[in-house]
């Protein structure tokens, strides 16, 4: 969710007037606590509108970012992630035909992602308001926690009407896959996979902003 906010701040002007974008936020955690993290911003559904907007200089009073500017920002974020201890194999892909941006990396322990985000914040790529302590894992206790984060409602309320429309029908999917088998979880909004090695939460972004759905979850393993 936080990573998506980062990308969204970058891409907000581009997403204006487009009412459809999806975020996929995925972690794959092995038994030793290491794993892979993937974040996908998919605005493909609105590509006709985005293709037209991208030819404009400004929209709704905001500068429309050029392709090179987006690439620079993503590459900068990638460089910072690469420099974060515990994070390796950072990959980015930017498909400007379909408006899909991907960022993936491997981590030694899931808290490395938090540290990476902290770095982005320190380098002013992430906004001050965005919390960075998203995951915590306790191998000893065999638990993984997706922490509670502050609501963005106050920030959302401050937005103009046109900016708010960006979030209409926007979706957020969180997938967490594990090598270990899940014993229990605290948030049943996450659907457990039949093999009991993955959980998935699908939500409208507005539901998360208004806290109709919660992201926090503590998963215990067998």
């Amino acid at each position: 969710m936080k990573n998506f906010m980062k990308l969204l701040v970058l891409l907000l002007p581009l997403l204006l007037l487009s009412s459809c974008f999806d975020i996929l936020d995925k972690v794959n955690v092995k038994a030793d606590g290491s794993g892979e993290y993937t974040l996908i911003l998919n605005a493909s559904k609105s590509k006709t509108r985005l293709a037209s907007i991208s030819k404009m200089e400004t929209i709704n009073g905001k500068k429309v970012p050029k392709k090179a500017e987006i690439e620079n920002k993503i590459n900068e974020a990638s460089r910072i992630f690469k420099g974060t201890p515990g994070i390796t194999n950072v990959k980015t892909s930017m498909d400007f035909d379909n408006y899909i941006l991907k960022l993936s990396c491997n981590f030694k322990k899931i808290e490395n992602i938090n540290a990476g985000l902290e770095q982005l914040k320190a380098k002013n790529i992430l906004g001050k308001m965005i919390p960075t302590q998203i995951y915590s894992q306790n191998l000893q206790k065999k638990t993984l926690t997706r922490n509670k984060v502050n609501t963005f409602k106050a920030d959302y309320d401050k937005m103009g009407k046109a900016d708010k429309e960006v979030f209409n029908n926007a979706k957020y999917t969180s997938v967490m896959q594990f090598e270990n088998t899940v014993k229990s979880q605290t948030n049943n909004a996450y659907v457990l996979a039949p093999n009991k090695k993955a959980v998935k939460l699908e939500a409208e972004i507005l539901d998360l902003i208004f806290q109709k759905k919660q992201l926090q979850n503590t998963i215990s393993f067998q």
Binding site: N42, K45, S136, N138, N147, V175, Q177, A198, Q216, T218
Partner: protein, 673 residues
């Protein structure tokens, strides 16, 4: 007998003289108001359906005040069928809006005022009127048959922040000599004394901001401290409630004394803020009282400067005058422009008055605007631009499928005269010579005649229906282990079918432009020529325009999304009338929103969007717009034809508002449950 006549004459003269001496003057509306509005109550009152309006007003007032006691707004003691006068003025620190109206039932009016004012507020009695503040900045005064409502907003006198910054930065680095220069430069705008109260408010705001981040960090520190304490004691994390970050229900570990300190600061801050508010209120009240004294000591007749009534139509429902020049040039924008060396150009361009007549007819709302530049010479050159030739070939592009159009028939060559005229008057003061030289150079460089031949000033944009186009997009689906997989899906989007065309007297020039585009090695992959049609193809085809066609034919340059638009299309009576109108005026446009909605239907997908679509369908009408020169002004008429069963166009808006309000309320209800 003679002496009696003489005496009578003398007495009559003396009495007449006394009458003249003691006659009260009428209340003159100041010449410097930026806005004046006259409501034609006699007409408007007949168009209002109070039975419909009352419940709506009652509902809305319930939102603002907990105990709204007023049920019938048609009986407030205000004489609705009399003329109302409204005007507004502003300067750096005071903005006022004043309304004068007649009351026909003083007792009822007082009762109404009592229901709207704050509880416990006393009505002040003056020599010839009573008054009360119904809000911090809204005051109402009345006598037996007249009333005045005055809104006054006061802000501390405007500080020239940019200048101040300059002086400050100079002061930091400069010696006393430079500082003295800066001081002397500052004499023109006297420096306001240091206002410690204002400074306190600013600093308190800063504290408030810092506190926010302290709170955030304190929570995190508390959590970690808790973890440390637990680890020190038990050498491991607790078994239950591992998720220490779920702070819901936890007791916050803020030091008690800190909380008290915080509360103390807050209350001191609040007190300070209150005292500033009180002082502001005193100033505002004094201003309002001054205005009331002035009005109630006059003969209560409103005298409006003639210049403001130049274009008033006695048949209109409302008439508005605005001094656009003053609004723009004396406001923040004007102050900004003063900083630019050539800002005078824009100040000249804005220096105009606008007059509006508004009509709520049975089937349409009509707004007529008369624009007049304050400099009659400039006005003449502006008017000359709007005297273009007609072009029937362009009008032929309007057909039965057309959703709307926008046409310009102006005199392109006169645009240069207008620009020179504005530039000429911009050069007063230090840049006069530079401006003259610049204009001379422009005249040499620009061959106005040749430019005008390329595009003499006739153009049209016609929107012919919205077509549906299927586009492919990427989505993600998940297998049962929640591995994502990219899948291709399709959806329909509405794309415009349009033609943009303009007249030219130099076809050769445009043919050469398109020829270069189609033969240039970099552009030729997108640009091609088939017969006399040039086309541009978007390689990806993912935007709204896949292909655009360019044709130069019979003195017209066409740019269209479909070559079908270039051949003659059928014109019914309606579209023929549209076409006729389009060539008649220098600027005109029309949009049939109902037709537009048919094309946009696929864009409305979710239930709430469909609901909005139904509401639009039921209510949205047709827009029409035209501009022409009338006398010594440029007149623009905007018509909006209504579409629903409302008794007239005024009630149409209330009905529409009521419907939207009810939908919103209905949507809110499930959330409360």
């Amino acid at each position: 007998m003679k002496s009696i006549v003489k005496k009578t004459q003398t007495i009559a003269f003396i009495l007449f003289g006394f009458m003249l001496a003691f006659a009260q003057n009428s209340m003159k509306i100041p010449n410097d108001v930026v806005f004046y509005m006259e409501i034609n109550g006699k007409q408007l009152n007949q168009k209002i359906n109070w039975q419909k309006l009352n419940p709506l007003l009652h509902e809305l007032s319930k939102k603002n005040k907990e105990n709204s006691s007023w049920n019938d707004y048609s009986k407030t003691g205000i004489k609705y069928d009399a003329t109302q006068h409204h005007y507004a003025s502003f300067n750096d620190s005071i903005q006022t809006y004043t309304t004068h109206f007649i009351i026909d039932n003083k007792a009822k009016f007082q009762e109404f005022i009592n229901s709207t004012k704050k509880k416990g507020l006393e009505i002040s009695q003056k020599k010839n009127y009573s008054y009360v503040d119904i809000d911090d900045d809204v005051f109402v005064a009345w006598n037996n048959d007249r009333a005045v409502l005055s809104m006054v907003n006061y802000t501390k006198p405007y500080k020239d922040l940019l200048t101040e910054e300059n002086v400050d930065s100079i002061a930091v680095v400069a010696d006393s000599a430079v500082a003295a220069i800066a001081d002397s430069a500052y004499v023109a705008e006297p420096e306001l004394p240091f206002d410690y109260k204002e400074e306190i408010v600013m600093l308190k705001d800063e504290i408030k901001y810092l506190k926010e981040s302290i709170k955030e960090n304190n929570k995190e520190i508390t959590r970690i401290q808790k973890d440390i304490k637990y680890l020190e004691k038990h050498h491991k994390y607790p078994k239950e409630n591992v998720d220490t970050q779920h702070s819901e229900g936890e007791t916050e570990m803020y030091p008690q004394e800190e909380e008290y300190a915080e509360a103390e600061i807050d209350s001191a801050y609040q007190k300070e803020l209150d005292s500033i508010r009180r002082e502001d209120f005193k100033i505002v009240k004094k201003i309002a009282e001054g205005r009331f004294d002035q009005y109630f000591s006059s003969n209560l007749e409103i005298e409006v400067p003639k210049a403001m009534l130049t274009f008033r139509d006695p048949n209109s429902d409302a008439y508005v005058y605005t001094d656009y020049g003053k609004l723009m040039n004396d406001g923040i924008y004007g102050k900004m422009m003063k900083r630019f060396e050539f800002g005078q150009f824009f100040r000249n361009a804005y220096d105009s008055n606008s007059y509006y007549n508004l009509y709520f007819d049975k089937d349409k709302v009509k707004l007529v605007n008369n624009y007049q530049h304050k400099n009659s010479e400039t006005q003449k050159t502006i008017s000359s631009v709007y005297k273009g030739k007609k072009n029937k070939k362009l009008a032929a592009l309007i057909n039965d499928k057309s959703v709307g159009y926008y046409v310009i028939n102006v005199n392109g060559s006169k645009c240069f005269d207008m620009m020179y005229n504005l530039l000429q008057d911009s050069g007063d003061g230090e840049y006069k010579k530079e401006m003259e030289l610049m204009m001379e150079t422009m005249k040499i460089v620009l061959d106005e005649e040749a430019i005008t031949k390329i595009a003499p000033g006739n153009g049209i944009f016609v929107l012919n229906e919205l077509k549906s186009k299927q586009v492919e997009y990427t989505d993600y689906e998940y297998d049962e282990d929640y591995n994502e997989k990219e899948v291709k899906k399709t959806k329909d989007v509405a794309v415009p079918n349009f033609t943009f065309a303009f007249a030219t007297e130099n076809e050769g020039y445009w043919n050469r432009v398109f020829n270069v585009l189609s033969t240039n090695k970099h552009l030729a992959k997108n640009f091609s020529k088939t017969g006399n049609i040039y086309s541009f193809k978007d390689e990806k085809g993912d935007g709204y325009m896949d292909q655009l066609y360019f044709v130069v034919k019979d003195g017209i340059v066409y740019l269209t999304s479909s070559t079908d638009n270039l051949s003659a299309q059928s014109q019914s009576d309606v579209s023929r009338q549209w076409a006729k109108d389009s060539s008649k005026y220098p600027l005109s446009g029309r949009l049939d929103v109902q037709k537009l909605l048919i094309g946009l239907e696929k864009e409305f997908k979710t239930p709430s969007e469909r609901k909005s679509l139904d509401l639009f369908r039921k209510n949205v009408g047709e827009m029409y717009y035209k501009t022409e020169v009338k006398g010594d002004s440029v007149e623009t008429e905007i018509d909006y034809k209504i579409k629903n069963s409302s008794e007239n166009s005024l009630m149409y808006f209330f009905d529409l508002f009521d419907e939207i309000y009810k939908i919103n309320e209905a949507e809110k209800k499930p959330q409360i449950l």
